[in-house]
């Protein structure tokens, strides 16, 4: 029920998703009177969904704490509960991010060894795709948190991006080891000295994200969120300026017409809907947040991200990695070398 275009884009999104994942099945939590007519519109969807009625919805301005206290019968909470009970393998929502994270953390709990879950997102770089975390779940992060994000991000890059040896970078304001805040400096020291088996590149700067200098970018949620949205803003400004330029004169329009097939490839490559789906990593269950203003194409991609996390066993990978790691207090994470 969450998101600007819900529930229509959810059903239309599932309809699209089924083209790629023909045997996916869905439990739809929400208002049956709104969902049933939509489902019956899409013949293909009908056999893949089961509506679970509830008319309690978490509004977008509700605080996580209040959602936790008063939202037990909400569509969002019930969908998360279905993951906890094992009835579903993952949950996708376009609703209130804070409430989703708060309830998912409370209901699903974090995986062993993970202090705090992180929000991870993928994007296109000059060399391929990158994954970046945290994108906003944790405003302040300790060095330990960042190291845990690095481990989770590396598992994701191996399993979902299919990279045999992904490189990991810590986002900072310079490449020298003297720069940055205490958390990134300590995290770098841990990642450099540990035998976690991670290909740690060191510090990277803002422009390195899209240059594809590394495959995994690790940063606190405050900076990560602002960096991501700044890049989105830059892409939007640039795209708009080009669009305006190409319609600014008759000759420019003719040129645009000729160049159109080539230019629309660029537009498709950077279509933000392709990368819709903020993945909550570190939870005992798969949870993906779709952008609130998503349409069916975007929502299908958020669901697809959840299916990837499930099918590629990202949580199993994280569990395996953390089974070899034990927290040692002051020095952060360490690989257990004995039994």
């Amino acid at each position: 029920m969450g998101g600007d275009n819900a529930p229509k884009m959810v059903i239309a999104g599932i309809n699209r998703l089924l083209e790629r994942h023909i045997d996916a099945r869905f439990l739809l939590y929400g208002d049956e009177s709104a969902l049933a007519p939509l489902v019956s519109k899409f013949a293909k969807v009908q056999d893949h969904v089961e509506i679970r009625h509830t008319n309690v919805v978490i509004a977008n301005d509700v605080k996580p704490s209040s959602a936790l206290r008063n939202g037990r019968d909400s569509s969002m909470r019930k969908a998360i509960d279905a993951v906890a009970s094992g009835e579903a393998q993952g949950v996708v929502s376009a609703g209130n991010t804070g409430a989703l994270m708060g309830m998912a953390k409370f209901v699903l709990r974090t995986l062993p060894g993970i202090e705090r879950p992180a929000i991870a997102g993928m994007g296109p770089s000059m060399r391929g795709r990158f994954v970046m975390l945290d994108l906003g779940a944790n405003v302040e992060c300790s060095a330990q948190n960042l190291v845990q994000f690095a481990v989770m991000g590396e598992v994701f890059a191996k399993r979902v991006l299919r990279l045999s040896r992904p490189s990991v970078g810590l986002l900072n304001i310079g490449e020298e080891h003297l720069k940055g805040n205490e958390s990134v400096k300590k995290a770098a020291a841990i990642l450099q000295s540990s035998n976690l088996g991670i290909d740690f590149h060191g510090f990277v700067e803002g422009n390195d994200i899209l240059e594809g200098t590394v495959d995994v970018i690790v940063i606190d949620g405050f900076t990560g969120n602002i960096a991501l949205k700044s890049m989105e803003g830059a892409a939007r400004l640039y795209a708009r300026a080009i669009r305006e330029a190409l319609s600014s004169s008759l000759i420019a329009r003719l040129g645009a017409l000729l160049a159109w097939p080539a230019l629309s490839k660029v537009r498709k490559r950077f279509d933000p809907r392709l990368y819709n789906g903020a993945m909550f990593l570190g939870l005992n269950g798969v949870c993906v947040k779709s952008h609130g203003s998503s349409d069916a194409v975007g929502f299908a991609n958020a669901v697809s991200a959840a299916i990837d996390l499930i099918a590629d066993g990202v949580n199993d990978g994280i569990k395996e990695d953390f089974a070899f790691i034990q927290p040692t207090g002051r020095n952060g994470l360490q690989v257990v070398t004995g039994s």
Copy 2:
């Protein structure tokens, strides 16, 4: 002597600058044997410069503390000293940023009421131009620091951007007052409740920077630096993808040829050299850092930024504003209403 293309681009930059500012005069600190032949190449420059010989140069990897201790005879330090003594009104360097900030802070001192200087930069937005600070001088910032940056940024926007009532926003990960770290939350509370006379818009997000939602963007130097470089990276990726697309086929190339005049306007509008010049605000003197990889066009713009700061009396404006403000400890800044 600082920067990849120095000292040639400095002299060539001055040559360009003199087209706009015919009566500007320069003290050139550096190796006379390198500078003199270059100066004699540009007839126009010759009458506007005076070479002050020194062959001590602050290298790019020198720490600020070591530059302070051992760099007294360096070209950078001597140029700053010339501002302190009043012989020059501003200093521009393309060298080591940390050393420049460290020495400028030590030699010039901060303006009354300013705890820490900030690095400010301008850029093009959908609605005009914005100024953003801090871009990397202060990794961690208190609420007080951020409020002081807001005041300085507003003065800059009034005097240099010529806006009668610039709007000021605090960069955050959401617009709700509950979001963000302690510093931004406290700074917002101070800016909202104070009668500083600032048009405080509240929180803005990463994408708002280039959307031009506000004229002045205030943030700590860690996040600000990363946001700025992330946007630069996005613009570069986008520009490259478009360039590649436009040369991907014969028809696309023909289209590009026709659309070229329109597209090159976009390129010119977003040319990063136009906005070269990181301005150190809050010091008792004008100090501008040019990008290290700058060419003559970029360097001329950095010098032009310094001239604007001087001619528009930005430091006088900051002094005036802070004369009405007194620090009150816990609550941050407050306007003195009595005498």
